[in-house]
Assembly symmetry: C2
Homo-oligomer: 343 residues x 2
């Protein structure tokens, strides 16, 4: 382990070191380093020069304790492997970059207990705000959020009761809207393919919305197939093969996400199945990936980027009209029929 420059170091440098090296009081050094208050130009330069020369890195822990201010925003998401969340993160970062706030990511793996412990851990750093996915939390988690005394944004989903602010789309309505599109195109025997995860509440709500929409036309979901783990594209193929083998007269497949939908599409093309006439397909999310596929899978944009930017704006206090908290922002996803629903 290298340990160059900063000679007899052991103890990390403190403000006092910079103070001594520059012959200026700690307080003034602090002012210079935070660009707070008025400091004469010569003093300023002496301080900066000394800090740079020593390689001083401020201790935010001490700073935060003294000032009771922490420029961290806790972001709690279910997974990093599902591209949806990194995209929300991108939206969040984009807004926070200009505010001096820093996102800190925690991952729950879709487990409520993990969410609870990650939240506890993060709150113990006294962040300036919390953004987390979904409206479903353990009682303890909800209690922590309510008592945190900082802005909370529940993101992605608006179907339920929020602790403070909420930004997202209605997944129930998304499912409903898909049902309407399917029925309008004349499909009758509909199958659903999705994740096994009992805690993927948003996929569950889409399915409920779908069933509700079908029921309104007197139609019942003909079959369903669930999976967990593994390569989504491959799973999409396998599930499609399985459900069609079991139920050859299905004429529409609704996938809970675009990756398995893409796998299904590739499978159907391989098999020479006539999409969308013999069989219609649709996914969910509007992922970029779809653009390179041989045919455009029908999908619905989940407004991921906008969810991220809006959530971040709420935390950063940047909402138009100076709204302070308790906001409810429902975004409207657009249905893209692509080439896999007949017209």
């Amino acid at each position: 382990m290298t340990q160059s420059s900063n000679p007899d170091q052991k103890r990390p440098l403190t403000l006092r070191d910079v103070s001594e090296a520059s012959g200026v009081s700690e307080m003034t050094v602090s002012r210079v380093l935070r660009s707070r208050g008025d400091v004469s130009e010569p003093t300023r330069e002496r301080v900066l020069e000394a800090a740079r020369r020593l390689g001083y890195v401020p201790n935010k822990i001490a700073g935060a304790l003294a000032s009771q201010r922490v420029n961290l925003v806790a972001v709690i998401i279910p997974s990093l492997s599902n591209m949806v969340y990194p995209e929300v993160m991108t939206g969040i970062s984009r807004v926070l970059e200009d505010t001096g706030l820093q996102p800190v990511v925690g991952v729950t793996h879709y487990q409520p207990e993990r969410e609870e412990s990650v939240l506890y851990e993060m709150l113990s750093w006294r962040p300036s705000g919390v953004i987390l996915a979904g409206l479903e939390h353990s009682d303890a988690a909800r209690a922590m959020l309510e008592n945190a005394g900082i802005p909370i944004v529940e993101a992605m989903d608006v179907d339920g009761e929020a602790v403070d602010s909420v930004v997202g789309i209605s997944h129930r309505r998304a499912g409903l809207q898909m049902a309407e599109a399917i029925l309008k195109a004349g499909y009758k025997k509909i199958g659903f393919l999705g994740t096994m995860m009992p805690y993927d509440h948003r996929a569950r709500k889409r399915l409920e919305g779908l069933e509700e929409g079908l029921a309104a036309a007197g139609i019942t979901l003909a079959d369903r197939e669930f999976y967990s783990g593994g390569s989504a594209l491959l799973k999409g193929r396998e599930m499609t093969e399985a459900i069609l083998a079991r139920n050859p007269d299905l004429d529409f497949l609704y996938y809970s996400n675009d990756m398995i939908g893409a796998g299904g599409l590739l499978y159907c093309l391989d098999q020479g199945i006539d999409v969308p006439n013999r069989l219609g397909l649709a996914g969910f999310n509007g992922v970029e990936l779809l653009q390179g596929l041989p045919r455009r899978l029908a999908t619905m944009d989940a407004c991921r980027l906008e969810i991220g930017t809006t959530a971040a704006q709420i935390i950063a206090g940047l909402r138009p009209g100076g709204v302070v908290g308790g906001e409810r922002v429902e975004l409207t996803p657009t249905l893209q029929l692509g080439d896999t629903i007949r017209v």
Copy 2:
């Protein structure tokens, strides 16, 4: 904004509140909450009960300042959209989960200046270690790393000089190995397709390795095509079309990543190009996605998960043999010929 329970709250709860509520000294409360030292069972329970009832969340800022210990590990990566990094993260989390250490993610967008500022920001929280991608850093960043006095792991790449420990593969060697496989299969007119990013040092090194390997057989790279931004799958299609239009007699295409490679493969299949006889293809990374494609793209596994776990073990002091720092772990990627290199 809801603000239930914890009645006249304004000020967040402190240890003292729990101490008063339970009639036990602050010190003992602290011991119970950290499970440190011996505390009688009845006292323990009174404290826990009080803490739970009040909804107390410890203040790690104060704790860290007092104990000079921070259970955070800084992880600095170029991007979240490139699935490679989330996978490394997965490896890191998996190991850290059992150690009480918490990863904190920072993203640089492949910009050295961003890396420098993210690093500065993170170091100011005095983490227990740093894991960052690559060996190329600004002078200032390198100086900070050297002076940090904590374990540093540079991950992904081993071609260069490390600050402390390094875990990864040799991308130069990966390119070389690919060149050998290409030549062995009898391809002669080779094209390279990659990202524009001047700071994707690892892609650059693979290209250099490829050229070196080809040169050994007296062959020069016939053409190259670069891109930036957009859907990688779609870009892969477009670039493949462009390079083949310009240079129809190319008989092998080496892509700098699997996503554009997959796009290229889909394009070739669409066009009815005979892969791998008329045209060979290869990507890089061994991404899961490939498994669902109609044909298996040749690729090379980048050992992402193992890089993550090893890096985390080094930071957590979990290396076999109790090694302490300054480790160099070179992993060996395996070449998978798939169905797109002829045999």
